[in-house]
Amino acid sequence: MTEAEKIEVRDITRIERIGAHSHIRGLGLDDVLEARAVSQGMVGQKDARRAAGVVVQMVREGKIAGRCILLAGEPSTGKTAIAVGMAQALGTETPFTSMSGSEIYSLEMSKTEALSQALRKSIGVRIKEETEIIEGEVVEIQIERPATGTGQKVGKVTLKTTEMETNYDLGNKIIECFMKEKIQAGDVITIDKASGKVNKLGRSFTRARDYDATGAQTRFVQCPEGELQKRKEVVHTVTLHEIDVINSRTHGFLALFSGDTGEIKQEVRDQINNKVLEWREEGKAEINPGVLFIDEVHMLDIECFSYLNRALESDMAPVVVMATNRGITRIRGTNYRSPHGIPIDLLDRMIIIRTVPYSEKEVKEILKIRCEEEDCVMHPDALTILTRIATDTSLRYAIQLITTANLVCRRRKATEVNTEDVKKVYSLFLDENRSSKILKEYQDDYMFSEITEKEEDFGIGGGSKRRLDIGAGDAEAMEH
């Protein structure tokens, strides 16, 4: 009994962490795609949001494949925020894959393989399949645990409908499901026979009197009719990548869980594309194209860009949204300079959304929203100072001060952050500007400051040699 209680407590206290963009719940648009000033965690950036809303609409309709959208703008002008907002606006049904440009550089997988996996993760397929489910009211449930606490559990359950009653033996895995769902006598449940998924529909009406105190969310349902085992059509949503992995013979579907998929042959992909198209024609499957978001897209190199050129032309391509904060810069892997570090031919296939720096008023709104998100009560004066700091330094720095100021305020046992707290953390933590200023002033006192510009190449070479020496020393030490 006590053990059961412990498990319960552990389930309830789930910690939700607050991320940089966890306050965003959508794009904050109204029905006609006009941007509201402050809505769903989004502030300002009206043109970009309106444009993103149009893109979302395009994805929802799902007819257009392989379009490319570039979010371009200065650092901390809300490019990632708009992408997160798009993901939220599209909902959980539409696949939204988010990756960073640097993620493709792996030793285990070629760059293009990583890209094509990402592209295929962003195409969902809804498949209708007939499965056998068991639907009934629990009459009796027995789960015996061995006295030692570990080992096989033995379970039996009796299910009934209005017409019949059957006993089932429970396997180990499904016992866990029963315990997690806290199934007890009187519940109406469904069990998916193939996957072993247990689902609680509610409590039976006939058991309504058993407890006088029931939670508000307890649903009462009728006892099911007819046979216990039924065939029902269920809809699975999988991504093309998942189908690829299941069918790549070398690893089998277990690779999905370990994440170690390796390279998937192009033949397998072609076969699956054909199969999916066939299913679509037969009306068994529905293709649900999503969005691939590549942040820091200037980190991709010329090979990836030319691969993307080709990949975007396939009719199985998702809508690709990219974000970059670079201006005219070198394309990675070449010596050519190009706007945003992206070759002109790919830029030509894109539509570009520009994000503009936030005004002071908008910065204040964002800080207010972040305060709410972090459960921090802030005095209006403190907020004004913080806004000032944000415009002078950067928005990210100001957002970080919220957390620290809140902690300082709690140390003096106050509930509201005041100007003193903000001033204190401002003096405690440097921003990038002040830090580099100090570096310039006291350059000579830091280590290795004797290296002058001219000698730099040589100096770096020496440094790395020195590091090598240290490494060798370590290895020696290990041997002894």
Partner: protein
């Protein structure tokens, strides 16, 4: 009231046949991806087993679904259907690692076909005969077994009758109960016997090592 559709469907299939012991095994591969296997008794020409393999959506090997005949049961039978025909994943599911199975005291339905009748046996049914109510349901194209003590309920489809376009009739049903088993017997209507004879004629053309002529001669003479 015609079995022509079914005959056409069988004709469209790619058929393979082999003889093992006194059984002739026929495998049909239909153009829509389904497969059907039948075992015929060479002495009587009666189907002993028939199983379907329907194509699965999410790839993977589909399992055989037995339409009639006994399921091969072993002593330490594991009811886990997922590793029945499992190709790759059978290895990592040990024998006792089942999800969920009916307890071995639960009623078990089997079906078999004789020359004149279709028979269903429901084993592990301890209740007396007057508890059961077996009725034909032409709307659902099936036979429904009810119990007055609300312990068992089953809708039994009759695919044979569907294939020749008729529905089950109450007058053809008879019920017995003995040795913990409920036996439901359904007298085959003449059109069904005719269809089965036609199917046998069709199978005559399917190449197999032995000659089917002798067998058929005996059958047609009845």
């Amino acid at each position: 009231m015609s079995y022509q559709n079914w005959l056409n469907y069988l004709t469209s299939a790619e058929k393979n046949s082999m003889i093992s012991g006194r059984l002739r095994k026929v495998l049909y591969k239909f153009p829509d991806g389904q497969q059907m296997a039948e075992d015929y008794n060479l002495d009587t020409g009666v189907v002993l087993r028939r199983a379907w393999r329907k194509c699965k959506q999410l790839m993977g090997q589909p399992e055989w679904e037995i339409e009639l005949g006994e399921e091969p049961r072993q002593l330490n039978w594991s009811g886990n259907t997922t590793n029945g025909a499992g190709g790759g994943d059978a290895a990592n599911t040990p024998d006792d690692d089942f999800m969920l199975r009916e307890s071995n005291t639960a009623p078990l339905l089997t079906k078999r076909v004789t020359k004149k009748n279709i028979e269903w046996r429901i084993r592990n049914m301890p209740y007396p005969l007057n508890v059961y109510n077996v009725s034909a349901s032409p709307e659902q194209h099936s036979i429904i077994v009810r119990t007055t003590n609300k312990k068992y309920y089953k809708v039994i489809p009759v695919p044979e009758l569907d294939r020749c376009g008729t529905s089950p009739a109450q007058s053809n049903i008879s019920v017995h109960h003995q040795f913990n088993t409920l036996i439901i017997t359904y007298l085959k209507p003449p059109i069904l016997c005719e269809m089965e004879a036609q199917v046998l004629l069709l199978l005559k053309d399917v190449e197999t090592e032995t000659d089917m002529d002798d067998l058929l001669k005996g059958l047609m003479a009845k």
